[in-house]
Amino acid sequence: MIEINYYLIVSAILFCTGVIGVLVRRNAIVIFMCIELMLNAINLTFVAFSSFMGNVNGQIFVFIVMTVAAAEAAVGLAIVIALFRNKESVNIDEINILKW
């Protein structure tokens, strides 16, 4: 039996990896993948808590999170495509007409 701490630590590390990825990467698609990584780290946390407490709420929550992540992915990629058509770049350093 693996203790819950290990799951929580792994998911915290995954979450931080995602956060760091969002902050340092410059490609919109990669940033989006890092956000997905954060969401999956959270799913791991939910499942760990859920099985630790013998309570099914957390697993239900994971399904909802996956659904929402899919909806977000659809919209997000559509936005990236719309931008790429106009700008021919997905580098967020070049997306800078809105400032100050």
Binding site: T45, F49, F61
Partner: protein, 478 residues
């Protein structure tokens, strides 16, 4: 168990949900369906407002404790419905002008509306999350609705990336709360006083509150607001700054009040002061009216947080009053900007949104200039407009909670705001037009005009007679 009876208790929510789906069906089944859809969504929102008033003074928890109907949540949802009503009316002429007259637009608005109402009625973090995401995803689409325009694309991408990033934090907070309490039900979570002092629980709640502070646009999570509001279609910016904010405030307020014992007061006070300072000071330097209104909406988030920081029985009343005043005046100002905006000519920028364009507007178009003056006076907090009473009740709440310094600072900072609002008014009435401006002709049958008139009526009505609000929304103490 869920019963059929429960469905009748959430009639406004059901009406909005069904009409949002029905609009998608209308769109594919009828040719030239835009006008039909416009009328249909108007009727749906009006019906939802009318049915909402049946539920006042009936505190109840329904749907397996998933939803909770209370006076406060009903008030917020009615304010959101009003804001959406004005937005839908104003949208018709705007999306025709921008050549994006599609039925999906109204469907997106109604889905967002449903998400916001779900969020406000939620009694379970799961429902809050679903509502929040339903709202946010629709907002990302709406912000990028002018898909041929680079500014709109950019605003949608920024909003999407930052919003999804914040969703991650909100979810992590929810996961920690769930891990400590073993439940996602808000009543159960806050019923155990021992849990409220657990530090993991505090971190979780803080992450949740931070996520919502991002949605409201409170310092230091405000950076997306000017960019998104500047780039989004102007009517949508107005909607984001009113309905979106109201939904986030209405959702997080009960949670903040429930964890009151942690004494977060000072943190919220500091956040409020920083937000007001930032919004008002940066707005002084703006030359683009959409950005100026965006900064003014940051400042308004600061005023709302003065109410949040006071955390007493007067806070809710002040916040609700300010929000309804804010809905009319901010949305009205954005709609006027949208009406004066130049027709889409394939360029990547919005035309006629510079402050210079407003010079001499009083001579060119006295009616619109008068309305704009009303909204700006109201935003500046000058009686007899609704904004004055909104600020009055908010600062009153702060004084009643023994935070006189906060009220004094808030009044001083809102005086800075008076400067840039009056600047526009002076431009409109006492300056000459710089050069012959190419102005878009619009007739008085323009639906934007009808929406503006509604907003003017609201601004004046709630300013002249504050008791109207209390009799309408059944708040006990005037």
């Amino acid at each position: 168990m869920i019963q059929i009876k429960d469905l009748l208790e959430v009639l406004p929510l059901l009406i909005i949900a069904f009409s949002a789906i029905f609009i998608l069906l209308l769109e594919v089944s009828i040719k030239k369906s835009e006008t039909v859809i416009f009328g249909f969504s108007l009727i749906a929102i009006l019906a939802a407002i009318a049915t909402s008033f049946n539920y006042f003074n009936k505190e109840m928890i329904i749907f397996n404790q998933f939803l909770r109907i209370s006076n406060a949540s009903l008030t917020f949802s009615v304010i959101i419905l009003i804001s959406m009503l004005i937005t839908v009316i104003a949208s018709k002429s705007y999306i025709e002008k921008e050549n994006v007259n599609f039925g999906e637009y109204y469907s997106m608005l109604l889905f967002a509306l449903m998400g916001m109402m779900l969020m406000i009625f939620a009694n379970d973090i799961l429902i809050i999350f679903i509502g929040l995401e339903l709202m946010s995803v629709c907002f990302y689409v709406l912000a990028g609705f002018l898909r041929l325009r680079q500014k709109s694309n950019e605003s949608a991408l920024k909003y999407f990336l930052l919003g999804a990033f914040m969703t991650g934090f909100i979810l992590y907070g929810i996961a920690l709360i769930y891990g400590i309490t073993g439940t996602t039900n808000l009543t159960l979570i806050f019923s155990d006083a021992k849990v409220l002092t657990n530090y993991v629980f505090i971190i979780g709640t803080a992450l949740l509150i931070i996520g919502f502070m991002f949605k409201i646009g409170v310092f230091p999570f405000h950076m997306w607001i000017p960019d998104v509001y500047d780039g989004a279609p102007t009517v949508v910016s107005g909607m984001l700054s009113t309905a979106g904010k109201i939904a986030a405030v209405g959702t997080i307020l009960p949670i903040i009040l429930a964890v009151n014992i942690l004494n977060f007061k000072i943190i919220f006070s500091v956040a409020a002061v920083a937000t007001m300072l930032y919004g008002n000071v940066i707005a002084l330097a703006q030359t683009n009216i959409k950005r100026l209104l965006a900064y003014s909406s940051i400042a308004s988030a600061g005023y709302i947080f003065v109410g949040v920081a006071s955390m007493n029985e007067f806070a809710l009343r002040g916040i609700a009053y300010y929000l309804i005043a804010y809905t009319f005046m901010q949305l009205g100002a954005f709609i006027i900007v949208a009406m004066l905006e130049k027709k889409d000519d394939g360029s990547r920028d919005y035309k006629n949104v510079d402050l210079d364009f407003y010079k001499g507007l009083g001579k060119r178009n006295p009616v619109i200039a008068t309305f704009m003056t009303f909204f700006l006076f109201s935003l500046a907090g000058i009686p007899p407009f609704a904004g004055f009473w909104g600020k009055y009740y908010l600062f009153f709440a702060a004084i009643k909670s023994n935070q006189i310094w906060l009220a004094v600072v808030a009044i001083l900072l809102s005086l800075i705001g008076v400067y840039y609002y009056l600047k526009i008014i002076v431009y409109m009435w006492f300056s000459e037009s710089l050069e012959p401006v190419s102005e878009e002709k619009f007739s008085f049958s323009d639906t934007g005009f009808a929406a503006t008139v509604l907003a003017v009526i609201g601004t004046i009505l709630f300013g002249v007679d504050p008791n109207l609000f209390f009799s309408l929304f059944k708040f006990v103490t005037p």
